[in-house]
């Protein structure tokens, strides 16, 4: 977490676990991120007790979109990515802008290092402009890929660095790992 040229904290998490199958990642203004997380947590608890079960990821995605649009004229300055497993157990990534425009995607990024990583993701995960068939990757391979990408982003973006928190969501559960990056 930083302002201009100063580092304010080296170990602030940007991942917020919403359910066992769903995590919210946010970038932007820290205060707005915290406020948004609290609002979502409250809504999810209310859902759980009135409907009787945990919210499914597509429902969470829509809830987030509505919550953001609710503040259309004084937005939450947070750029979110929601990652989770849908009802069929398949992975889903939802990308949002500050006022809740939602898009379901295969991969996404947000934050200051977006422009460095999206082209790499397009090539390695989307396999765009590649003639070979897209490989099917395991969880561990993806985690290693993410680490490699973040090392590269950390080289070129001054705001990215210190450490990354990788959260892998599979049908077996949620696994979190912290990988140290360069601290300069």
């Amino acid at each position: 977490m930083s302002t201009e040229y100063q580092i304010l904290s080296r170990d602030q998490t940007k991942i917020h676990k919403l359910t066992e199958k769903c995590s919210l990642l946010s970038a932007g203004c820290r205060a707005d991120m915290d406020a948004l997380w609290k609002v979502l947590d409250a809504k999810m608890v209310m859902y759980k007790y009135s409907i009787g079960k945990e919210m499914a990821s597509p429902a969470v995605a829509q809830l987030l979109s509505n919550t953001l649009y609710y503040k259309r004229f004084f937005p939450y300055y947070s750029f979110n990515v929601l990652a989770g497993l849908d009802e069929n157990g398949k992975g889903a990534v939802y990308d949002y802008d500050a006022i809740g425009s939602m898009e379901k995607k295969e991969y996404s990024a947000s934050g200051s290092g977006t422009s460095f990583v999206i082209p790499a993701l397009d090539n390695l995960i989307g396999f765009k402009t590649r003639t070979e068939p897209k490989p099917i990757r395991s969880v561990d391979e993806c985690i290693e890929l993410v680490k490699d990408l973040f090392v590269s982003i950390g080289e070129r973006d001054i705001y990215t660095g210190d450490a990354i928190e990788i959260c892998a969501i599979t049908s077996a559960g949620m696994k979190t790992e912290i990988f140290q990056l360069k601290r300069d």
Partner: protein, 309 residues
């Protein structure tokens, strides 16, 4: 009678050239060559454009300047001067150069570290270096650090801070080791130790707590190195490696690029098992269209017979 009508035209930018003047003078008047120094013609237009863009809410695409958002430091010890610098150059929030050189040569006994706009610091160092070169030729004596300081501060003051160069000039001359820091508006201080750049606050805190007068070379180098490392890790505008330059009273100069490399990415990448798709095989990107143009007509020309005298 012929009516004489008098026109008053503002022709100050044109010179009245006679037809009988030599061709090269007439050509110069028609195509004025750019003169040396700074050209501020576009300044008003750029300011106006920026204001207009801002008023309309359009993000301006004026070129971003590369800054050495930096940490540089210098310190005088018993037998000379130590200069230290980091090696990151940024353009906005992007790292433009991971290993640039910020300590430049001014004279055989004087070196200068620069922070601020990369182009400005580089040109200032070049300018004072060539001026001192000429001075050495005309006076026949070794350059003095105070001369470099005076030339730089007068140049920077002349441009009223528009040249964004913050410099630390250090060297040894016949009067001993000296260190000066110079700010972009033209003020300078003669100091025993100093730091400049965005990481100057992080670095000066280290120097203030460890400096003592008449240090040995090892102590001075260690202090400078720690100051730069503090800037590298705590300031976002500074990073990568630490360069050290030592100028000794004996006349010997040691320049070490990458004195300390705490940010070697290889160690980090070795921990990761890279996916094999990182190596893109040849033929991976589909060629949609290709066309060939004959650019040069290659002809064999046999050398002509040498002229017989």
């Amino acid at each position: 009678k012929v009516l004489n009508v008098i026109f008053t035209v503002n022709l100050t930018h044109l010179k009245m050239i006679e037809d009988s003047a030599p061709l090269f003078i007439r050509e110069q008047a028609l195509n004025p060559k750019p003169q040396g120094g700074f050209n501020f013609e576009n300044w008003h237009r750029n300011e106006r454009l920026q204001n207009e863009f801002r008023a309309k809410g359009i993000s301006s695409n004026l070129p971003k300047v590369m800054l050495t958002g930096t940490t540089i430091c210098g310190c005088v010890y018993k037998d000379g001067v130590v200069l230290g610098a980091d090696t990151r150059a940024t353009g906005g929030s992007e790292v433009a150069d991971k290993n640039c050189e910020k300590i430049g040569y001014i004279a055989p006994n004087i070196y200068c570290g620069g922070a601020g706009t990369a182009g400005d610091t580089f040109q200032m160092k070049k300018l004072v270096s060539s001026q001192l070169d000429l001075l050495r030729l005309s006076t026949g004596t070794q350059s003095r650090v105070v001369t470099a300081n005076t030339i730089l501060k007068q140049q920077l003051f002349k441009h009223q801070g528009h040249i964004s160069a913050a410099l630390i000039v250090g060297g040894v001359d016949c009067t001993g080791p000296h260190l000066y820091n110079i700010y972009p508006h033209g003020s300078s201080n003669k100091v025993p130790f100093c730091t400049m750049g965005s990481g100057s606050l992080a670095a000066i805190s280290v120097m203030e707590s460890t400096y003592k007068p008449d240090m040995t070379e090892e102590e001075a180098v260690e202090m400078a190195k720690e100051a730069i490392l503090s800037g590298i890790f705590n300031d976002l505008g500074s990073g990568s490696n630490c360069d050290i330059t030592i100028i000794r009273c004996s006349g010997e100069v040691t320049r070490t690029r990458g004195f300390e490399k705490p940010n070697d990415t290889k160690l980090l990448r070795d921990k990761i098992r890279h996916p094999k798709e990182l190596v893109v095989p040849s033929g991976s990107t589909k060629v949609l269209e290709s066309s060939f143009l004959k650019y040069i007509d290659v002809q064999d020309v046999t050398a002509p017979e040498p002229m017989m005298i």
